[in-house]
């Protein structure tokens, strides 16, 4: 790119020496400097504020007072014991599905299939949970979670394998695998794993000793999810594997020349993503639903995409992002019950926030020349 080396003549030579044009400009101090340094947080917050303003307009248009609606939403999601428990209950699998999308993004893969991997994990855990009904609780829990993890990893590996061996783009293959998973699971819960004498297709309930209980208001899965998210961040920053992941994600050609096995990294990243999503399914089954029934946990995998993109594929940032989505989802049902507002208003809020986070223009408008340069997250069909 020859044009970049030719610095445009600075408007005021004293204020903008030529050196500045090459790297990032030195950030000013004070509040403005702090805002610039933390723009990865500032931009989503601005997006969220705009989203809530637009949401208020939508709610008002439906003839409901927006202040009252938001108060209901947050009151029921955060400021009651049951509500906060509900929120954390939903946040837990969302952290995992967020990681299931965020980790492949670091390798340059867009995993839209977290939903399929998630439901396979949930079903596997449910089947183990009721088939092993006479085993001790801890054994069932460990086996069920392991099976959920493996089921998700295997399902995701199909996409990884299609990518490395046949060059099928993962966006298409994971979307197809989602639909295939829904149909296979629908068959399984209607036939071999169906609860006898039930009209609704669902598995029997898992053994009660295998329920994952809450510690106070915090579900047991929540700290595990937080630890794993932090662990993943550590893995990406401090280990060889993480370095290889990042290198493949940033520059495939360079990674190849450096001797990194690109295909192996792609397979590993997809398997790891599937393992996260499958584990989310297992924890959801053992901790909340206690069986597999379709229609429950309908969107947890798809919300993972929103979460990973909101978090800009930073594993630690998936925790607050998942908490936001979890709180909104938990509050939305109370909102519908109280005011009749459709819970899909939450999707609108999230989509607008996501739009703001992903539009480079927004950071440029706020921070001008201090805006961080976002790199393209995803690749075209060819590579």
């Amino acid at each position: 790119m020859p044009d970049k080396d030719v610095a445009p003549p600075p408007a005021t030579p004293a204020a903008a020496p030529a050196v500045l044009e090459r790297g990032a400009p030195p950030t000013p101090g004070g509040l403005w400097g702090a805002l610039i340094r933390y723009q990865a947080i500032v931009v989503p917050v601005v997006g969220l504020v705009v989203a809530f303003v637009v949401g208020a307009l939508l709610i008002r248009q439906q003839g409901v007072n927006p202040t009252y609606a938001y108060k209901t939403l947050f009151q029921s999601a955060l400021f009651t014991r049951d509500g906060l428990n509900q929120t954390l209950q939903r946040t837990t699998p969302l952290i995992f599905t967020g990681l299931a999308v965020a980790v492949p993004l670091r390798v340059g893969l867009f995993n839209i299939g977290a939903q399929g991997q998630f439901i396979f994990g949930a079903l596997a855990a449910a089947v183990v949970g009721y088939k092993l009904h006479s085993a001790p609780g801890i054994v069932i829990i460990l086996v069920a979670l392991l099976c959920g993890l493996l089921a998700g990893a295997m399902w995701a590996s199909i996409a990884g394998f299609l990518k490395t061996s046949r060059g099928v783009h993962e966006v298409i293959s994971t979307i197809m695998l989602n639909s295939i998973a829904v149909n296979i699971i629908d068959y399984l819960i209607n036939n071999p794993f169906k609860e006898k004498g039930q009209a609704i297709p669902r598995t029997p309930q898992i053994a009660p000793q295998a329920f994952l209980n809450d510690m106070g208001i915090v579900p047991i899965g929540f700290p595990i999810a937080v630890i794993l998210a932090v662990g993943t961040a550590w893995m990406l920053r401090r280990t060889t594997l993480g370095f290889q992941f990042e290198t493949v994600g940033r520059n495939k050609a360079a990674a190849g020349y450096a001797g990194i096995k690109i295909n192996k990294m792609i397979l590993l990243a997809m398997a790891l993503a599937g393992a996260f999503a499958g584990l989310a399914g297992g924890i959801e089954t053992l901790g909340d639903i206690h069986r597999y029934e379709s229609g429950f946990n309908a969107n947890l995998g798809f919300d993972g995409i929103t979460i990973a993109l909101l978090a800009r594929s930073n594993p630690v940032a998936t925790i607050p992002a998942a908490f936001l989505v979890g709180a909104l989802r938990a509050g939305a049902s109370a909102l519908q019950f109280d005011t009749g507002i459709q819970p899909e208003v939450v999707d609108m809020l999230l989509a607008i926030t996501l739009l703001f986070v992903s539009l480079p223009l927004v950071a440029k408008l706020i921070f001008r020349r201090y805006a961080a340069k976002g790199s393209a997250l995803t690749s075209g069909w060819g590579s």
Partner: protein, 331 residues
């Protein structure tokens, strides 16, 4: 002759398929017509949606949001038609709202360099949200779009009653595919579009306005997605259901790849998909095989993966698809 040697395998495949179809027609007229008719009605929205993908990617913009654009088209078309009791007003509303969604994708990705795949995902989320948020149950249309016979053409055995006798959107689809294919490979617009999608900085040097071409193509393509949606909610069925596009927008992307980013091949690929669906339900109905319904349902998706695994590597996407263009930062 030169043309034939370049396109030998494609031509031979096409001839083989047409011969097979007529042999089938000679054996059992009624079943052949009904199956290929089923295949075509399955294929119409897919063909339109694949054209959306082709127009975008040939000019360098990946469109993951076709699904959402179709859904919005189906939604606004249906509710406009229900409110005005005019199907034509509905179709126009569907196309316009599709164009609006196309323009959204165009402006965020081309003008403001947002990541194209994320923009598509945002479109899908917004579309699902909007169409559910404003959904009202109990609305219905009294009838679907009327059937039209094209004189003479509809008298051709087999393809006459299938392709030249049907709703206006299905008929328009034929015209659109033919025009788009011709335009893409035989007109100035087509050459420019392909140049912009293959090597934007060279096109820019040659004096083509890359940004304007991309904005225009992606916006018009959105209109086609809206038309595909209108087909679903006003021609195939007179109803709108939440999430009624059911993954067709993504299937269309697979068809686009299978069709090597060419409208006519995408048309053939979509018919092939439709025909396998027709075959599966025919086998099921006549008790030749008894598969659970779920396996019939997942057949198109499995087929997509198989077909992509076979086709990928042999076809090549437009070189600049997925990459934003910034003037003066040529790659």
């Amino acid at each position: 002759m030169a043309w034939f040697s370049r396109n030998r395998s494609v031509t031979l495949t096409a001839v083989a398929i047409i011969v097979a179809a007529y042999v089938f027609y000679a054996i059992n007229q009624r079943v052949a017509v009904s199956m290929i008719d089923f295949a075509w009605s399955f294929a119409v929205p897919l063909v339109l949606a694949a054209c959306v993908g082709v127009m975008g990617e040939r000019s360098g913009v990946i469109n993951i949001g076709i699904e959402g654009q179709m859904l919005v088209g189906a939604f606004s078309g249906f509710f406009t038609a229900a409110a005005t009791q005019s199907l034509w007003a509905g179709v126009i509303a569907g196309v316009l709202s599709g164009m609006l969604m196309g323009a959204f994708l165009a402006w965020t990705t081309v003008k403001w360099q947002m990541d194209q795949i994320i923009a598509g995902v945002v479109i899908n989320i917004i579309a699902t949200g909007l169409t559910s948020f404003y959904y009202k149950s109990g609305q219905s249309l009294t009838h679907v779009m009327p059937n039209i016979d094209i004189p003479l053409l509809s008298k051709i055995p087999l393809i006459g009653p299938v392709f030249f006798e049907g709703g206006p959107i299905a008929l328009t689809t034929l015209v659109i595919v033919a025009i788009l294919h011709f335009a893409l490979f035989r007109t100035r617009w087509g050459l420019r579009t392909r140049a912009v999608g293959e090597y934007p900085s060279a096109a820019d040097t040659a004096g083509i306005n890359v940004i304007a071409m991309r904005l225009l193509n992606v916006t018009i393509a959105g209109g086609l997605a809206g038309l595909a949606g209108a087909y679903l909610s006003m021609e195939a069925t007179p109803t709108f259901e939440r999430g009624m596009t059911a993954g067709r927008g993504f299937l269309a992307l697979a068809i686009m790849i299978f069709g090597a980013w060419r409208p006519l091949r995408a048309f053939a690929a979509a018919l092939f998909f439709g025909f396998t669906s027709a075959l599966a339900s025919q086998l099921q109905a006549s008790n030749i095989v008894s598969l659970p319904q779920q396996f019939i349902n997942l057949l198109p998706y499995v087929l997509t993966l198989v077909v992509l695994a076979a086709a990928a590597g042999r076809v090549r996407p437009p070189a600049a698809a997925g990459q934003p263009f910034v003037k003066g930062e040529g790659s």
